[in-house]
Each structure stands twice: as C-alpha cells, then as structure tokens.
C-alpha cells in the first residue's frame, strides 16, 4: 500500500476540495432538484401572478395570505420568488452553457493544435481576466442594451476565459497521455483523437466546473440586477427583486432578505452538489490510478 495515494486529476479541480459529500451532497442535490422543479412549474405553484399589483397592499409583512409578504407594488413576494427561480436559474444555466460550449470549443482547439494560433487566441481571451467580472459584465450590458439576452451574453463572456483555460489545460495534459499516442500510432486523424479521446475525458471536469460556475453566474446576475441591469420589470429575477427592494430594507426587509436567501441557497446547493460530484469523480480517478 503506497502512502501517497496520488490522483492526477487536474490541479484546479483538486483545489476546489470536497469538505462535504455523502448526505450533504444528497440533500443539496434534492434541494437543487426542488428549485428546478419550482422553476419549471412556476405558473402552477405560484399563488398569484408575479405582476399583479395591488397598490392598496404595499409592503405588507409575511402573513397567511402572502407567505413572504408583499413588495412595494403590493405584489406577492412568494409568487415573484417562484417566478424568479425561473429567471435566475435559467439565466445562470444558459449563460454558463453558452460560456462553457464556446470555451470548450476554443480551448480544445487551442490545446490540441497549440502554436501561434493558440498563443494569439489565448492572449485575446485572457484579456477578459484583466477586468473584474462585474465591471466587464456591466460594460457589456451597457453596450448590448438592457434585457435578459445581453445579461446572458455578458455573463457568458465574463466566464469564457475560465472555461477556455480549463479545457485547454485538460486537453494539453491529455494530449500527453499514452492512449492518445496509441491512437495516433494506430493511424487516427485529428478529429478522431479530439472527439473520441480528448473531449470525453476533458469534459468531465469542465462540466463540474460549469456546474459550480452556475452558482457564480446566479450571483453575477443578481449583482447586475442590483444595478438595474438584467431582467426588465416587472419580470422578477432574484437580483432585480433585491435591487428594487433595497430601499425598503428597513421597513419591509423581507423584500430584500428573501430573494437573497434564495440566491444563497441555490448557490450553496449548486456548490455542495458539485463538490459531491467532484468527490465521486475523484474516487473513480483514484481507483484507476491505485
């Protein structure tokens, strides 16, 4: 038995660590599932329409009628939070899906072919790292105009470098694996090697990171929403709800605290569940290497 059970998984992945697993992972997986369910069936679950104003019932505290109270237009906060799950989760997921797909494509090509193409492309992509995500996203939304589409694109661009780098690193590391050399030795072309050997193996960590990034994307969307960019009223996103409610923080704190809690919960679920998946992957790695 060797004392150093070394796993050769990507260093970045191992850095993320896995303090939780088992039960925590399962609970968070279930929580995440619940959120997705709520998002999918929002119209059935929401007790009221998300945009139904009742100016006579402004800023009411939580009650039997309005479990989470009402906001500054007398709208039901619970209904808005339910619909908000739809917006926030779908913006996060779409943006990350977009970002990851583009990143995987570029990263795989850069990592596989290398050379000048790689250096120039990566230099351009790394430029996005020169600016904090929030500022980058704010500037991009300003360029693209308001709306959910530009939010999605802005978030996608903000995380593009991360996915490209990760895929590239993975592909470069895998390129040195013997099975790739074997494939070349058998006479395989670039497409075969990329699609059959490199991408399937590179993808697993990228997908896990994508999942963890979805949490960040939800946070970023909330922050953009806080600055009034993102979902256009009366469309509820959790960020937008916190933004419009922030002025009410002290006489109707539920308007701010509740959507914030949901953001935090969803990000926690995503992180813990992602970690659990990571841990599972890691174990597999370990078996392979032991």
């Amino acid at each position: 038995m060797s004392l150093s059970l070394k796993t050769q998984g990507a260093a970045t992945l191992r850095l993320l660590g896995k303090p939780f697993g088992g039960i925590g992972g399962a609970i968070c997986g279930a929580g995440l599932g619940l959120f997705i369910f709520v998002a999918l069936f929002a119209p059935l679950l929401a007790p009221y329409a998300y945009d139904a104003q009742d100016l006579a019932r402004i800023g009411l505290p939580p009650s039997a009628e309005n479990w989470f109270g009402t906001d500054e237009f007398g709208r039901d906060v619970l209904s808005r939070v339910i619909y908000g799950a739809r917006i926030s989760l779908s913006v996060g997921l779409t943006a990350v899906a977009l970002s990851a797909s583009a990143g995987i494509l570029i990263g795989a090509l850069c990592g596989y072919f290398g050379g000048r193409f790689d250096r120039i492309t990566m230099a351009a992509i790394d430029l996005t790292w020169c600016f904090p995500e929030i500022l980058l996203a704010l500037v991009l939304v300003a360029i693209l105009g308001p709306g959910l589409n530009s939010t999605v694109i802005a978030i996608a661009v903000a995380y593009l470098a991360q996915f490209t780098r990760l895929t590239r690193t993975q592909v470069r590391a895998l390129k040195g694996e013997t099975f790739v050399e074997v494939s070349r030795c058998l006479g395989a072309g670039h497409a075969h090697i990329l699609l059959r050997h490199l991408l399937p193996n590179a993808l697993a960590p990228v997908i896990v990171v994508a999942m963890l990034t979805t949490g960040d994307a939800i946070l970023l969307e909330a922050t953009l929403g806080f600055f009034g960019m993102g979902a256009q009223p009366p469309t509820p996103s959790w960020g937008a709800m916190m933004s419009s409610g922030s002025a009410q923080l002290f006489n109707a704190p539920w308007v701010v605290i509740i959507p914030g809690l949901f953001v935090a919960l969803s990000v926690i679920f995503i992180n813990v569940y992602g970690d659990a998946i990571l841990a599972a992957l890691d174990v597999k790695n370990r078996i392979r290497r032991a």
């Binding site: 099975f179 074997v182 058998l186 006479g187 395989a188 075969h192 193996n201 392979r288």
Partner: protein
C-alpha cells in the same frame, strides 16, 4: 540477402529548448546518427539508461515524432518524409506497445471498445458478429478472460492492461512491433508473465520485435541482437550471448544484479551518472565515467567498428570479445537471422 523489414540510416532527432530574448535555444541531441537494420522475424533489443534516447528512437522510427534528418525504410518504403495523411494507412503494419499500461487505455472506453479502435481508425468496418469474434480472438490471444471485455480499464490490473495493449497493437496484424519498456511499470512477477506472452506470440505468428528496455539482463534474455545506446548514440551492437566490448556495456552488465548470492557484495566500479544531452564535450561521450579513458577518448569520438562476428562497438579501446563463457545452457540463436552490416 532479403530486404530488411526496417532499415534506419543516419537518423537524428534534435530538440530545441529554452531560448528567449537574448539566448539562443539550446539543442538537445536525443538521437544522433543512428543506423540499423532489422530483418523480418528478428528480435532486436535497445538498451540504455534513462535519457539515452531509446524511447525517442522508438517514436521517431514509428513517426510519432518527426525525425530531424535521416531515412527510415519500412519494407523498402521510405517513411521518414511521407506526409502524415499518406502514412496513416501504412501504420497498421507497424505498431507499438507503450511503457505505461495505466494510461494507455482511454478510461472512458471499455476494453472491447479499445480493442476495436484499430479497426475503426483504419476504416475496417465489421459486423456485430465480426466484432464479437475479433474481440474474443484478441482476448484469447493474450490469455485474458473474455468477461473483461465489457469492463473499464480501471478494473484491470497493470499486467492485464498491458495484455490489452499488446492485443490492440496486434489487432491489425502488423509485421513490426515496437515494445517501449513494456514491463517497466509492472511488478517483477508480472513482468515475467508479459515477457512469456511476448515470446509465445512470436512463436505463433511472424513478428519482428524492436524491444526497448533499460534492463540489460532482460534484453539479453529476450533478444537476438542488442543495441546499447548512450547519450543518443549506439555504442555497441552485439549478438545474443556475446561478451560486451564497450566499457559502458560492461558497466551495465556489472550493475544488473542476478539472483545469485555468490556475487554478494562484489565491487561495482561504475561511477557518476549519465550527463545531460546538452553541450556534449568532444570525444567519446562516456569518457568522463570510463575507467579506461585516455587522451584519445577525450579528443576523438570513436566510430562504431567491428570487434567480432556481428559485433560492433564504438570504443577506441574495446575489450576483446572473448567467446562468452556464460553461454546459455540451452536455446540457440534464431535460424532466420542473417549477417548484415549495420
């Protein structure tokens, strides 16, 4: 004289490294003007310590790395300058078994998929039934339980994986198999199993082996002819059973311990380690570690010269290749071997 299956002439491989704003990149001569022929059915061993260029040689010969210069004739056809596209169909005729069985199978594929990859890559279409037959045949060939075909590589032991590697390399029935330290990462008990398998395969089908290893004892056991490399050059070529003429080969022999307690605590004379391949001094590359080195060795590099029957050494002062006192008790050199110039 038949055409050798592989004929390598003046093969060189140089790596560049470092370099920057002000510095010239340094050149690393991994393989320097290596020439040799392999006849069909022969088993040739290449032996040397890490960094001697033996693995690079294997890869350059199979065009997994581009040669810097020199020619590689495979069955009479020069493949050194062939474009990659034209080379691909030829690849089915020369295959390689790699050192690390642990990473030689894509962890996402089943053993079955891995074994079928050669056919897919080479565009051989198989029916489902043919696929099943092929997998069964290959598994049987390397004595693997066919049940394992549906497992993923992490369920297999190192030895089993190496068997899969061998089966995969032989799937398209190549005529030349390059074995790059196929047993180096296995336990000794498993190493013996794999060597046994390779020997039996050679008996079953006409196979030519180029066997790369750092273990002189193993090479002496397994190969018909042995090439010893030091710092990218071949320093000695000798037939099985011959006594080494080059001091380096002698040092290697002295350092490989046989399970014989009578030699207990005998003195090892070799000192130092293989130097880096950069900035080689003039003269013999081994002179710094050679107990017999003289001024001539420091000034002029010795060329490979004949020191006996089919025995060459690159040394100014070779030991006389006396008839080997340690001839094998049984077994003879393969009969198909013919004398040839290197």
């Amino acid at each position: 004289m038949t055409t050798p299956i592989l004929s390598v002439t003046d093969l060189c491989k140089t790596f560049r490294s470092g370099g920057g704003l002000w510095r010239k990149p340094r050149q690393f001569h991994a393989v320097s003007s290596v020439s040799f022929d392999i006849q069909a059915g022969e088993t040739v061993g290449v032996v040397g310590e890490s960094g001697c260029g033996k693995s690079t040689l294997a890869r350059v010969v199979l065009r997994l790395m581009e040669p810097s210069s020199g020619s590689i004739r495979f069955e009479g056809e020069d493949i050194a300058a062939l474009p990659e596209k034209a080379l691909r169909p030829l690849r089915r005729r020369f295959q390689m078994v790699f050192q690390d069985p642990y990473s030689s199978i894509n962890p996402r594929l089943t053993i079955r998929e891995a074994l079928l990859e050669p056919f897919r890559v080479q565009g051989v279409s198989l029916t489902t039934a043919q696929e099943q037959d092929t997998v069964d045949r290959l598994m049987a060939m390397v004595s693997l339980n066919p049940v394992l075909a549906e497992s993923h590589p992490h369920h297999l032991s190192g030895g089993q994986k190496q068997r899969v590697g061998i089966a995969r390399a032989l799937a398209l029935q190549p005529s030349l198999l390059v074995l790059d330290e196929p047993t180096a990462s296995l336990d000794v008990s498993v190493q013996a199993q794999v060597i046994q398998l390779l020997q039996s395969l050679r008996g079953q089908q006409t196979l030519t082996y180029l066997f790369i290893s750092h273990d002189l004892a193993l090479v002496r056991y397994f190969c018909d002819r042995i090439m010893v490399m030091y710092l990218g050059r071949v320093v000695e070529v000798m037939p099985k059973g011959a006594t080494p003429a080059h001091p380096y080969t002698r040092a290697l022999l002295e350092s490989s311990f046989e399970p014989d307690p009578t030699q207990r605590r005998s003195i090892v004379r070799i000192t130092g380690e293989i130097p880096s391949g950069y900035d080689l001094p003039p003269g013999c590359a081994f002179q710094a570690r050679c107990p017999k080195a003289q001024d001539l060795c420091r000034q002029t590099r010795p060329e490979l010269g004949s020191v006996g029957t089919r025995h060459q050494a690159a040394c100014h002062f070779p030991d006389s290749p006396l008839p080997d006192t340690q001839t094998p008790r049984s077994g003879t050199a393969p009969s198909q071997e013919t004398p040839h110039a290197v």
